[in-house]
Amino acid sequence: MAFALKIPFRRRGETQTGPIRSDGDKRRRMVVSPEGVPIPFMLASRGSRAAALFLDLLMIFGAIIGSTLILAWIADGIGFDFDKEDGPAGRAMQALLIVWVVAMFLFRNAWFLFFELGPRGATPGKRICGIRVAARARGVNGGRLTTEAVIARNLVRDIELFMPLIFFISASVEGGDTEMAGWAGLGWFLIFALFPFFNRDRLRCGDMIAGTWVVEAPKTKLETALSVGEAARGRSQATGAQYKFSDADLAIYGEYELQVLERVLRENRADGMRDVTEAICRKIDWSAGAGDERAFLEAYYAQLRARLETGMRFGKRKADKHSGGA
């Protein structure tokens, strides 16, 4: 309030409050690669992490059930007899039981480990949700994801996730107070489940100890260039009309508007392009026609970009239509 009173006069167009940070801005972290190039990392949203975990647990559960069934099927083939321990069937049963115990241990502890050490740095669940594990930046400098880090983050998962479950089961097996155990387990679980809500980088305990974070896996497709087509040279292929804009026509917009225009062209929706065409024509005082919007917009895009990039090379950038500059 005091701040608002201090500057009652301000230049028109300058907003008083800072720009509202969108969710994307809040999740973006600029990390400097070892070569000194800043690269944006998008932290994974908590929702997608929860979904990934759920999928993984589902898969682990399926794998456990599946392997148990297979082993039971083999055991059935051998014939259940724990009594005749000396016979070959008894020994085979023992071997199966060992395999089962070890398999359970591995499913519980090695699933995440194995997949996160792979080249994708993600378990199957994470891959489906489009996220991966990466080394957390120290300051601004990105690091290398090490084997030890992956081990550490997954050992801690054990107490975050499986402990309350074990706690509850052991209480009910030993005939303890299951209600109390249930509440305690729930409290325990909530502490860890809510942990990512109480720090900036959305780390869970394991991430904190291992020095990792979970980020969105980068998308891979290169879109075609918009500014190399025939229409971008100013000639419409549909109507053969030539669009040539004067300096004054191009001077009203900046980089922000250029990117909006690029998005509109890539979406390629007729009504969206018509609206934008009308808006531009109103602004630059052209009479808006109909039927050739795409060619018009591509021409405007290419010429605006050429103008802004020329400005850029001379160190004059124009962020948006409100700012001065080129």
């Binding site: 115990v101 080249p119 090490t146 054990d158 107490i159 291992a210 891979t220 025939e230 290419a302």
Partner: protein, 355 residues
Amino acid sequence: MNAVTTGIAQRIGGWFSKPSETVVAAEQAALRSDRFRLEREADWKRLDAILKRMEAGRTRGLSDEDLLALPALYRTAASSLSIARETSLDAALVSYLEALTQRAWFLVYGPRASLWSWFRGFLGGGWSASVRGLGIDLLIALALMVAGTLVGWLLVASNPEWYYSLVPGGFADERVPGASKEVLRGTLFGNQDQDGMSVFAASLFSNNAQVSILCFALGFAFGLPTMLLLIHNTALLGAMLWLYHGQGLLLDFVGWLSIHGTTELFAILLAGAAGIHVGRSMAFPGNLPVMDAAAAAGRRAAQVMTGVVLMLVIAALLEGFARQLVDSTPSRLIVGTFMLVLWTGYFFAFRRGVR
């Protein structure tokens, strides 16, 4: 003119079969930033293809030239990104290059080695180095374990009722205060003909490993739960020691225990020390930011913990088999001492320049 340029438009975003066509396309482009893009696009596409193969886990299928080119292509992409940011307003291009550089970064600076070669380095010095790296925390854990044993002994000695609260029901079948010497002796010797020991060993291992992982993982709460867990578990040991001491079987019990116990207790010591290490580095991070200190300690401790799991496998094997096969106190003591010397030697005398 028309035909040429539509041909270019089709070719953009695709592979260029010949470099000369790239040059032609680049010269046709009106914008300088598009010429920049067209000239380098082949390199980016090549990097993209290599990355795609590697991400799918098909590194073996890559040719040697591609593998050797990877770091260079990565740096090309990184420098292209820097240039594009300063000269191009093609948002799609910049975000593509950002993604490409990031993907290449993950692979070029990814987990350094295969799991197998990491494991070799781990056994060949990495493990013992990180155990030594725990430093004073080893002593703290040892002191806590000794204190826990003493506390267990003293508590039960002052009031045998404590025994029942210290030793969980599953453990103490016939081993309760007031049991006769013969009964207790029977629990220590003469179990050679028991079967099903291999299953017993496997489940023992699974159980112990889980406890030690817990011991480590609780370290994040500044190590306090780890300390409590250490004391609690060794108090049980102290109570048992007291029980057998009462019937003059202390040495026999120690022998029975030592055959696997030297390995198992050592492993628990390491797990506890790892937990305390993490907790202490968070409470007293020194010159580093807390998060960095925790991360550094966590990585070292994780390496120790992998070793702990290995030690517990060995302990379970010793417990499941060797204890039943070796049935006299002196030879049990010899095996136990041998294991202790082996571990101590491996951790503290085996130094090799790692890294």
